[in-house]
Amino acid sequence: MSSDASGPSEGTKRELTFEDVLRWQAMSRIVERSMVDQGVEDVTRCPLGDAVVPPDPPRGPGEPDVVPAEGPGSQLLAKPMGRRHALSTLFGTLLAGTQAAAACTDVVPADGTRRERLLLEFQEVLKGNFRVMSDDEKRETIQRLERLSELSRGVHVDLSGEDAQQGVLFGYAFNVSKCKGYRECVAGCVRENNQDRASGIQYIRIFEMEGGEVDFEEATAEFQHEVPREDHFYLGTQCFQCANPPCVDVCPVAATWQEPDGIVVIDYDWCIGCRYCIAACPYWARRFNWAEPAVPDDDVNPNQHYLGNRLRRKGCVEKCTFCIQRTRKGRMPACAEACPTGARIFGNLLDPDSEIRWVLENKSVFRLKEDLGTEPRFWYFMD
């Protein structure tokens, strides 16, 4: 549906000709037909709110939570309507009306893609906090975001809103004697979590420390030399998913919270960007998008979670989520997978047979800043 790709405004400027108008008309018909093919009601016949919401894109078999959408009309009538939803529906109606008018006059190019994108973006602005969304609302926003990714950058993403599994509480252990400072974990994390390549946001910091003291004041995370360095050891930090997280309490809009599996998450779209949580974190784990984040289309990791690695926007806070998009599907976090030395142990604290439990029961472990009472779920140990 790249109808605007061959528009006359591209490249050289020239006068509009009769041929141009004819080409637009033909193009607009193709667009309309393709929308009908995809199951979208003809906008000229049904210019009502949800009509322009696209149908489900094909999904993997591993996600049974997504129920096929009902017909737009019935959805509109049956659903109890919140103020916000009413507003977005109203706007949708107006927008669809203009679209219908445009289609009828047939003079303006039926730039359906742009209109659809505008409508979806508007509905996105008016949505609520993911934490209190109904299952329907969650499904709708996920569909919108998937569609928007296709429309805006032509990248098909598989966005999940998967809940925490029962009987799972994630924990992490870091073997200080094994880490050699290669920072493969950092690279793996950046790729997996679609972090802004322009500003170089990194969740993980590996500190190079001189033997004899665990002192962050004397350590550096900015080392640029061959590792491992003699008489030094390496200690990595990231979000510790504290059991008592100071960052969660301070958020004025409750855009960040702790999930039942212990992961502290952020609803990027609910965050207003006040950065109070950044000030509140004693481990400097949170990052802010000071500019519009840039990830090349080819490098986008399409396997995403709403509360995890989906693409962020400028002006919101983000952080490590123990790779929620992987770990809720039973996989290892990217940092643990990338580590060439086996320094990173991740697992379910409630599973007595897990490796993390073995470490906690058989090794002497410590955590950072225990005196603050934050109870990190991230332990350090030595061989």
Binding site: C251, P252, V253, I272, G315
Partner: protein, 418 residues
């Protein structure tokens, strides 16, 4: 209803008419506001990357000004308390200036919070009902509530008094004195809540001190009355509005005592940080002496403390405090000293070094300076308009044209010419 219309019209008239100096002043403020607006447009378009803030120093000039101005707003209570509650006649004329200051300072506070947001378009998320206000867990939610409540109080009380005066009546104490009492407590609370916002963070030992709240109050009650004294001196010399010497000298006394208390608290903090320095003292070390060669704020805080001691010294000497020129100079110096101390000198060191010991320094960019100047100009604009509207009514020059003609109301109808 016609009275309300006439009131608004005469207010508009008062705000838009004035001498040449008045128009030049308002024109300059407008120009600064437009420039600030342009800078904010750039910030909206490109994101907060155009500021000097980073993940390490995640609050900067905006929040620095915010914390200072909350104190200015709270200082209005220093006038309200004696004027309304203790019926101290000296203050009754100064009180409107004080409340005007509170309103102007609060609009600036809200302005600084909004420009600091990464996603200002989403600030409706704070509205209870359609959004979600994380109350009572988040101190920022408390701050949103107390600041807006205080703004409503400080708009409502003077508006009621001015309007009844405009109607040629005496305000009914039963209708407004309860709100006056409320605003007195409220004033203390806005500043305490703002202090708790910072003091409640164990991640930042520099702020995590029980002295922060009291120190906020002491410094506010020094800087606020100083600013009001300056304004009263201007009003007294430029308008026929008479303010007694006693009001100014009592305000100067309040500022002096508060400044002394503030200095004692600064001394107490310096002792605690430097008698046996721990890792928790690193921010103070950075602020006063520099850390590992990073010393961007050392000169700043030393000048601030020097000016503070100087101004307090002048205020403590009775003959100097009673001399208008010395008093003006001392008030100006005190105001600047506390702005430096409680703004950048308080907020920035909280972030240096980071909780993981990394040192990244902060330097505001031109965008931040321009936006900050724009908000200050906006605040001064609001303050000027409020004073401009209030004075003719208080002087009896401006009265509702629909009143029955009474001896006292004669010149009023002629004067406003609605």
């Amino acid at each position: 209803m016609k009275h309300v219309r006439a009131f608004l019209l005469s207010a508009l008239d008062a705000a838009t008419s004035g001498g040449r100096l008045y128009h030049v002043w308002m024109g300059c403020l407008s120009a600064v506001m437009v420039f600030g607006g342009y800078a904010y447009f750039i910030q909206l378009r490109d994101g907060l990357q155009v500021t000097g803030m980073t993940d390490h120093v995640s609050w900067g000039l905006y929040i620095s000004n915010f914390t200072f101005l909350v104190g200015m707003a709270a200082a209005a209570v220093m006038l309200v308390l004696p004027a309304y509650v203790l019926h101290d006649v000296d203050f009754s004329k100064a009180v409107l200036i004080g409340e005007g200051l509170a309103v102007a300072a609060l609009t600036m506070c809200l302005g600084f919070v909004v420009v600091d947001l990464g996603s200002p378009m989403r600030s409706w998320h704070l509205t209870p009902g359609i959004g979600f206000l994380n109350f009572p867990r988040s101190l920022l939610a408390w701050d949103v509530l107390v600041l807006n409540g205080y703004l409503a109080l400080n708009l409502g009380i003077p508006l009621y008094i001015l309007f009844t005066h405009y109607m040629g009546r005496k305000p009914n104490p039963r209708r407004y004195v309860p709100f006056v009492y409320l605003s007195v407590f409220w004033a203390v609370s806005i500043h305490m809540v703002t202090a708790f916002l910072l003091a409640g963070l164990p991640a930042r030992p520099f702020w995590n001190s029980s002295l922060l709240g009291p120190r906020f109050l002491a410094s506010a009650f020094a800087a606020g009355p100083c600013f009001i004294i300056l304004m009263l001196i201007v009003v007294r010399s430029k308008t026929p509005y008479h303010v007694e010497d006693a009001a100014i000298s009592k305000l100067a006394m309040i500022a002096t005592v508060a400044a002394q208390v503030n200095l004692v608290m600064i001394g107490s903090e310096i002792f605690k940080e430097f008698y046996f320095p721990t890792h928790h003292s690193l921010s103070a070390q950075y602020l006063f002496f520099g850390l590992h060669g990073h010393d961007a704020l050392v000169g700043w805080i030393r000048i601030s403390i020097g000016l503070n001691i100087l101004a307090t010294g002048v205020l403590m000497i009775h003959p100097l405090r009673k001399d208008t020129r010395w008093l003006t100079a001392a008030c100006l110096v005190m105001f600047v000293a506390i702005w430096m101390d409680k703004g950048m000198g308080l907020v920035i060191p909280g972030f240096v070094p980071s909780p993981l010991g990394e040192i990244v320094e902060y330097r505001p960019t031109w965008v931040e300076f321009a936006v900050t100047a724009g908000i200050w100009a906006f605040g001064l604009f609001v303050f000027t308009v409020l004073v401009r509207v209030a004075l003719p009514i208080e002087l009896g020059e401006s009265r509702s044209p629909y009143l029955e003609r009474r001896p006292g109301a004669d010149r009023s109808t002629a004067a406003i010419g609605v």
